[in-house]
């Protein structure tokens, strides 16, 4: 493999559990981290709902997503960006989220996307 690195951004726009999008994004994030490429995650729209803590997915016979998100830091995936407007629209306080996140406004989102070599959207 060549030494060259590409920066990746994964955009999450879907709520967890209703579809496989959130889990697919997580699988891709872990794959990118295996190849030691710089990676950021951006949570927009309904994607911010993935960040609420203390899921109990056993209640609907699924696996917990919040546990997987909490261990991202162990894989050196620590650049988590969150759209502040999406939180506001849903009445979620940033303090409700127990992960280490950076809030972004619309300009910040545009800048983040512009800085990346590759952007994947889920």
């Amino acid at each position: 493999m060549s030494d060259s690195k590409k920066s990746f951004l994964i955009i999450n726009r879907k709520a967890p559990y209703g579809s496989s999008a959130a889990r697919d994004a997580l699988d891709v994030a872990l794959t990118i981290s295996v190849f030691e490429q710089p990676l950021s995650l951006l949570f927009l729209d309904d994607g911010v709902l993935q960040l609420l803590p203390e899921h109990n997915a056993a209640a609907i016979g699924q696996k917990n997503l919040s546990a997987n998100l909490a261990m991202l830091e162990m894989y050196d995936i620590d650049q988590l960006y969150v759209c502040s407007r999406a939180l506001e629209q849903r009445g979620i306080r940033p303090s409700d989220i127990k992960l280490n996140i950076t809030l972004l406004d619309q300009n910040g989102i545009a800048t983040l996307i512009k800085q990346q070599d590759q952007v994947l959207s889920f």
Binding site: G18, H55, R90
Partner: protein
């Protein structure tokens, strides 16, 4: 009297707003799957114009699965048995999927 089922978040489709404009007196609304997110406090304004006789419910398993707490008090939480009971109590069930 009709039971309206919603399984999408307010922003992923027009299902919720479509259903709200089709609700009549005495009907009931039940949020399931991703629909339970509509009971987040941020969305409370969507439900203020419903007739007072409309009962609002949400499936507690789906709310627990998603880590939802401090939800809109207008919604009564029911379990799967309650879901079956509501489906029998109302003469029609409309799924806004």
């Amino acid at each position: 009297m009709t039971l309206h089922l919603i399984n999408k978040t307010p922003s992923e489709s027009s299902a919720l707003s479509d259903s709200l404009s089709a609700v009549s007196e005495g009907d009931a609304l039940l949020l399931i799957e991703n629909g339970v997110y509509a009971a987040l406090p941020g969305y409370a304004a969507l439900f203020t114009r419903l007739p007072g006789s409309v009962q609002c419910y949400l499936l507690e398993n789906d709310a627990q699965a998603r880590g939802l707490k401090d939800l809109n008090q207008e919604f009564r939480q029911i379990d799967y048995d309650g879901f079956v009971e509501l489906s029998c109590r109302y003469s029609k069930v409309v799924s806004w999927f």
